[in-house]
Structures are given as C-alpha cells and as structure tokens.
C-alpha cells in the first residue's frame, strides 16, 4: 500500500498530525480504490457496449432482454454489502473523533466571533487569533496557541454571534461553534509544527480570513510558555497598554483598523474628536461618551456608509476595560 499512500493520501491530504488522521486516511484510500474500481466497471462497461454495439444499419434488430433476476439481485446486493462496510468503518473513526465525554489532559475554552477565535487556558492565559486582514505569516502575532505533543487536548467551543466551524485539516477534525451551546473538539497531536485552523461555516464578510494556527511543541516548551504567559497576563497594565491588549483580544481588530484603512467598521485612526455622521439622526463628535455608547450599544448610532454589523459588548467589558479602550483610541491620531 505504500505507493498508493504516496500518490493519494499524501499528495492530496494534508500532513497527518493527530492520532486519528492515519485511520481517516486509510479509509480515504479504501474509498478511492473502491470508487476507482466501480468507476472502471460502470463506465468501462458502458464504453465497451457503445463501441461493440454501434448501430450499423438503419434496420438493426436488437436483442429482446427484459430483465435478469440473478444479475439484478447481485448488483443490488454487492453494493449494499460494500456500503455497509464503508458505513461501519466510518462509524469506528467517527467514534474516535467524537470523544465528547472524555476529559482531555488539557482543556481550552474556544470562543468564536466574527471573525476571530479566542482561546482561554485554565490559568487565564488568553490567546486571540490575528485580525481578519492579516495573513498566514502573521498568524502567530502577537501570541501563538501552544499545545503539547502527545497529550489529549479538549476544546470546549461556543460562539458569541453566528455559527462558525472549527476545522484543522491536519487533525482531520471539524466541529461547529454554536451560540448558546457548547460543543467539543478533541484531538491528540502526534507531530510538532504549526497547523492552520479554518472557519468552514459561512459567517459573513470576512469568513475566508477567519484563520488561526495551532503550534504543537514538546511538553517542556509548552510548560515554559504556559508559565511565562500566565505571569505576563497577571501583571497590571497601564490603561493605554490594557486598551491595546483588549483591542486584539476582544476582536476589535477584526473590523476596526488602526492605520486608517477601511475594514467592516470605521478605522480608529483619528477617530477621537472627529465629527461622525450617522445613517439616521443628527451627527455627533466622537468623545468619551460617544465611544462608550458605540462599544456597549453599537447599533444605536450607525456611522454612515457602514453596516450595522457589530454585536453589543454590554456586560462583556468592565468599566475599567471600556476606559482603557477609550484611552487607547485617543492615542491613535
């Protein structure tokens, strides 16, 4: 089977980086080979008949064969048996992928929102995937998502707005993130390296940029990173610094640029003190009160030319955090 592996699974399928990946690829090869055989039988047979029984004269007589019970039984029964085998094989793998009730060695809470993934570890370390405009080479800026090789990781996922779906091709696993409910995604990484996370459930404008990456490292590196990140997180930050951190963590960066470029929402650059025009009602100057209201009840005053797409942050940010964000926006002249 080695050469088959070479031309099929390894050339089409991503690297195998989890325990279950190899089993999935074995089933994939079985399906490919059996499909190829079925295709050759069906289409090869058809092609052969077409040429062998080409019409020769306009008065050709044809055989009068209405049916053949044995043949019909066989070509119903044999596919049925093959289907049941494939069903059973798929089921065995599915059970492996969906260890819903297994407790992982490490549990991470994952929250999806338009268009960012937030990972929260047990000690409070929070890592946010980069904002929607950035590309693959920046997937680890400013922080990476680290997990140790060989351990079972259990992600507990939910969503804050719409449906998203967490897909890591290298782990051959995928699960929807659903608002108002928790779903789980369990995997045991077997390879070190960086593995891309896609969102596969259509979730709006920047769906195709809702990327992230998981870095699988050895246990020592992981422990070191985990301890260091934990310490860094607990230090008290000055408001502007905290605001900058929240800008990345709370998904502001997905819709609001800080360099003046146009994303889904208005840029923060030069925002403070500027005059805002709204879709309805009179305009206003962007002061502290305006920014606070825009964060907590964003659809109350929608800036002209932008969609009312932002979810309210009421109850999700403390007063300190709102203040920190305002201080940060002030620095973006």
């Amino acid at each position: 089977m080695t050469w088959l592996n070479l031309i099929t699974a390894t050339s089409f399928m991503p690297v195998q980086a989890s325990e279950v990946a190899k089993n999935v690829d074995n089933l994939y090869i079985f399906l490919l080979v059996s499909s190829l055989i079925s295709f050759v039988i069906l289409i090869g047979g058809m092609t052969w008949f077409i040429f062998k029984y080409r019409r020769k004269t306009d008065t050709d007589k044809t055989a009068y064969i209405t049916h053949n019970t044995l043949a019909e039984f066989l070509w119903s029964f044999i596919p049925l048996v093959i289907m049941i085998v494939i069903f059973w094989w798929g089921w065995v793998i599915f059970a492996d992928l969906r260890k819903v009730h297994d407790k992982g060695d490490i549990e991470i809470h994952v929250t999806a929102r338009q268009w960012q993934w937030t990972f929260k570890y047990a000690n409070g370390v929070t890592v946010v995937s980069p904002n929607a405009t950035e590309k693959l080479d920046t997937l680890f800026q400013p922080n990476g998502i680290y997990v140790p090789v060989g351990k079972t990781i259990r992600l507990v996922m939910t969503s804050q707005d719409v449906l998203h779906s967490f897909f890591v091709p290298a782990f051959r696993n995928k699960m929807d993130a659903i608002p108002g409910r928790y779903t789980t995604f369990t995997f045991t990484p077997t390879e070190k390296g960086d593995f891309i996370v896609y969102c596969t459930e259509f979730c709006g404008t920047s769906h195709s940029n809702m990327l992230s990456a998981i870095r699988v490292v050895d246990s020592e590196t992981y422990d070191k990173w985990y301890a260091a990140a934990g310490n860094a997180g607990s230090a008290k930050l000055p408001p502007v610094e905290l605001g900058k951190k929240l800008y990345a963590e709370k998904a502001c960066a997905g819709c609001h640029s800080i360099d003046g470029s146009r994303l889904v929402g208005p840029s923060y650059k030069g925002l403070f003190g500027s005059v805002r025009e709204f879709e309805s009602g009179p305009g206003a100057t962007a002061d502290e009160n305006y920014i606070r209201k825009s964060i907590l009840q964003p659809t109350a005053q929608v800036v002209k030319g932008y969609p009312p797409a932002m979810p309210p942050y009421q109850g999700q940010l403390s007063d300190d955090e709102v203040n920190a964000l305002i201080e940060y926006i002030k620095t973006l002249k």
Partner: protein, 534 residues
C-alpha cells in the same frame, strides 16, 4: 415563435395567435414552452454569477475591481438561490414534464389545466420577488439561509424578500406536483396500466410525491425565519432561548428531498434517451420504476447527513449515515440497468445520446463521491470544503443539466417540428463535458487539501488548482452558448423533422410534430409496454 413548418395543418403553435393567447393559454404544451423561456433566462443570470465568482477566485485576494468580499458573498448567494429555486428544481418537471407527460400518457392535457397556468404565474411572481431583492437589497447568507446569521444585523431585511420569493415559488412546485399525480392516475389512455407508463412518467410521478410532501415543510421553515426576523419569536435566535440548529433540521428536511426533486426527473430523461438511442427494450423496467419510488421514500430520512458536524448527537449522525448509504443501492440499480440496456443494442451517438452518456459518466463520479460524504468519519474532514462543492456540482450540473441539454435536443423536433444541427449539439457537448471536468475535478483535490467552501480569499497554496477550475468554467460557458446557438439555428434554419426522427416508441412519437392542439385525433389504445423494440 416561428411556425413555418412544411405542413399547413393546425398545430398547437398556430391554433391561436398573439401574445395574449399565450399568456392565457391552458394548453400544457404552451405552458411548458413559457416555462422554458423563463427558466432559461434565470439559468443565464445564475450562470453569469457563476462565471464572475470563478473569475474572482482566479487569484488570491481581490481579482476583479468591483468585487469586494461583500459583493462576492452576495453573488455566491444569488448563484445558489437562482440555480436551486429557479432553475434546477423546477427545470425538468416544469418544462418537459408539462410538455411531454400528458402526451406520453395519451391524454389531451393535464388533469387541471387552469391550475397549471396558475402555477406558471405563481412561479413567475415568486421569481420576480426574489429577483427584486437581488437589485435592491444586500443578502449574503448563501442559499441555505442558516440562522442565526440570516436573522442577525449583518444581513439586511432583503433576506425576507428573497425567502418570500422562494416561499411563493414553492406553491408553484406543490401545484405542479399535484397536477402530475392526478394526471398520472386519472388520464392514462385505455390499456396503459401503471406498469406500461414510460419511465419518464414514473420519474416525474416520484418527483411529484416529494414535491407535494416536502415543499410545505420548506414553506413553514421560511415563514418561521421571517417571523424570527420581524417579530423575534425566539425559535431560532439563541439570544431569545431559541435553537439555531433547529433551522438546519427543518431546512434539510425539505432540501434533502429537493436534491431528488432535481435528479429524479433527469433520471427519467436518461431512461428515455438510452432506450431510444439503443433501439432496445429498457432493461429492468420494473426495477427502474420502483427504484425511483424507493429513492423518493428514503430521501425523507437522510436529512441529518448535512449535519454531521453541527453538534447534533453522535447517535443521530450514525443513524443518518446508515440510511444515507441505502440510497446508494437504488441509484446503482439504475446505472446498471441503463448500461445493460445498451448490451446487444443498436447504439447511435446522436447529440442527445452523448448528453446521456455524459450524464452517466459525471453522475457516477458524483454518486461515488457521495459515498465518501455519507461515511461519518470521512465526512468530518470533507464537510463544508470544496470536496462537497465538487460533489454536488457533479450531481446537479453534471447530472441534471446534462439531462436538460439532452432533453432539449431530443424533444426539440417534437416541440418545433424542426431538427437542431447535430454538429452544433456535439460541439456543445464536447465543451460542456470537458469544461465541466476541468472545472470541478480539481475541486475534489482542493477539498481534500482542506480549502473550505464559500471563500472569497484563499491561501497561496490553493492558487494553481483554482486557476485550472476557473479556466474550465469558461469552457462550460462556451458550451452552453453553443447549445443556445444550436437551438436558435434549429428554429430559424432547422430541417423539417417528421413525426419520429429518432425512432422512439413512446406515444409522443406517434403524433405529428409539432403536435395538434389536443395532441391526439383519437384517444390511443395501448397494448404493450413503452419500449417494445423487437
């Protein structure tokens, strides 16, 4: 429409004159032709969106100047909605079902001719509502309208309009189905028992049962979506305690059977084509007929296979996987029967037969890759990737639209009294068939590599396969334009066809081309099965 045929006898085209006589006609043949013009216009529109979507995907990032992510998402949505609700679902039943079904049964018209005309107007009203939302509103939910995205502020209220368009078109579908069921039961010519009706009729009959039973569920689901959006009733909205996944259950309870509304009539067409162009009695008539009913029945029990990663219970996933596998059996039976029909036959490769062969080639690939997706452990990787996009295009486009093209050329002489150019038909086939494989086969590989669907932008590693795919889409577009040229050329300069140019055995080939106003001068008496080539 030109009526310059060789014979000066009265036919359905010149029986009454003027545009008003068409708009008020209750002749099933004229209604079929009105559906043809409407649906082909929508097909053109949906096709333009498809080409634009593919051009945008030629390079990563923004390719076309005016196509922002939002514009792309809207085009992707309207491509899907138009092709599903306005082209493939109504396509074969509304056009060819209307024209051919009563004639194949030996009837003068469908059971309820006025209801039939009403169905056309209802369809056109629904289509108008949906099309209006296209030009005035911003909807980017995809044709599936998944909650809670479709009820969120990110989507404009235009979604209500689009959904109401689909809702109204659903009634047309139900009424047409009802009409066909009653026609099949009540208006068969003397001697035409249920075991002697042509396989096209069997396929349309099975389709009609699905239309009548499943479409109301779609109607209710869409109404609930509108209620959720306007009134906030809290059925689907998680912030009001609703369940967003419930929408998917409701939606697929219709839309999975709808997949068979799209493919079963195509299978009926293929049965006719294979028998006629092999000049041989169809192999396993009973098996083909009853496998249509089996597919229709099982199609109601498999909706959950769209939801293996949606958070539904693992037990449900396994159960749905098992039932889905069962659909493979009647489908395989049909393929084996068609191929066996060619055995010891007298096969002629005219353009319609080429399309039938193309159907079998592409549908086999679509069907086999469906088994990949039905297997739970495998589907988790492929779900919502380009593998799925490739799979359902192989079934829907490779299958249904190949059959539509075959049907157009096959029945063109009956409908107009003239032949299309066989050369143009064959060239059209070469372009569509080649282009189709060039477009969609690379997408199986993209999906295996992990590229998700509905992506405006993609990572650089996916570029070359996407470019091959886009170039293929231009070949398909060219192929359909040549097909259009064949139809126009046939209308203007086609040779006179005669009553039975292909040597068909079903009843429509026993009457003049084009048929007279009431189809048959004398009600025919049927004494044998539909494909008695001896």
């Amino acid at each position: 429409m030109s009526t310059a045929t060789a014979s000066h006898t009265d036919n359905y085209l010149n029986h009454e004159k003027g545009i008003w006589s068409w708009l008020t006609t209750i002749d099933h043949k004229r209604i079929g032709i009105m559906y043809f013009f409407a649906i082909m216009s929508f097909f053109l529109l949906g096709g333009i969106f498809a080409l634009l979507v593919r051009i945008e995907l030629f390079t990563p990032g923004q390719t076309l100047g005016f196509v922002t992510p939002d514009i792309y998402n809207r085009m992707m949505t309207y491509h899907g909605a138009i092709m599903v609700f306005m082209v493939i679902v109504p396509g074969i039943p509304a056009i060819f079902g209307n024209f051919i079904l009563p004639i194949q049964l030996g009837a003068k018209d469908v059971a309820f001719p006025r209801l039939n005309l009403a169905s056309w107007y209802i369809f056109m009203s629904g289509a108008a509502i949906a099309a209006f939302s296209l030009f005035t509103q911003k909807v980017d939910t995809g044709w599936t309208f998944y909650t809670p995205y479709s009820i969120s502020n990110s989507v404009s209220n235009g979604v209500i309009m689009l959904v109401m368009g689909a809702f109204v078109m659903g009634f047309s579908s139900i009424l047409t189905g009802l009409n066909f069921i009653v026609t099949t039961h009540k208006l068969r010519a003397p001697g035409m028992t249920m075991n002697r009706i042509p396989l096209m009729v069997w396929a349309l009959y099975a389709t009609s049962i699905i239309q009548v039973l499943a479409t109301p569920v779609l109607a209710i689901t869409l109404l609930l979506l509108v209620a959720e959006r306007t009134l906030g009733v809290g059925i689907f909205d998680p912030t009001l305690g609703g369940d967003p996944v419930l929408f998917q259950h409701f939606f697929w309870f219709y839309s999975h059977p709808a997949v068979y509304i799209m493919i079963l009539p195509a299978m009926g067409v293929i049965s006719e084509l294979v028998a006629t162009f092999s000049r041989k009695i169809i192999f396993g008539y009973t098996a083909i007929a009853y496998s249509s009913l089996a597919i229709a029945a099982v199609s109601f029990l498999v909706w959950g296979h769209h939801m293996f990663v949606s958070g539904q219970s693992e037990f449900a996933g396994v159960l749905f996987s098992f039932i889905t596998m069962l659909v493979g059996v009647p489908t395989a039976i049909k393929l084996f029967n068609w191929i066996s029909t060619m055995y010891k036959g007298s096969v002629r490769l005219d353009a319609p037969m080429l399309f039938a062969i193309g159907f079998m080639f592409l549908f086999t690939i679509g069907g086999l890759t469906g088994v990949f997706l039905a297997s739970t452990g495998m589907d988790v990787h492929f779900h919502d990737t380009y593998f799925v996009v490739a799979h359902f295009h192989y079934v829907m486009v490779g299958g249904t639209l190949m059959a539509v093209m075959g049907a157009i050329i096959y029945w063109f002489p009956k409908v107009t009294g003239k032949m299309t150019s066989d050369l143009l038909g064959r060239i059209s086939w070469v372009f569509i068939f080649t282009g189709f494989n060039v477009t969609f086969f690379p997408q199986f590989i993209l999906g295996s590599m992990g590229m998700p669907r509905r992506y405006y932008d993609y990572l650089p590693e996916f570029t070359s396969l996407n470019q091959i795919s886009t170039i293929g889409s231009w070949l398909i577009g060219t192929g359909f334009l040549i097909g259009l040229a064949a139809v126009i050329h046939g209308l203007i300069a086609g040779k006179v066809a005669g009553d039975n140019p292909w040597g068909g055995k079903t009843l429509e080939w026993t009457i003049p081309s084009p048929p007279t106003h009431e189809n048959f001068e004398k009600t025919p008496t049927v004494t044998g099965g539909p494909y008695e080539y001896r």
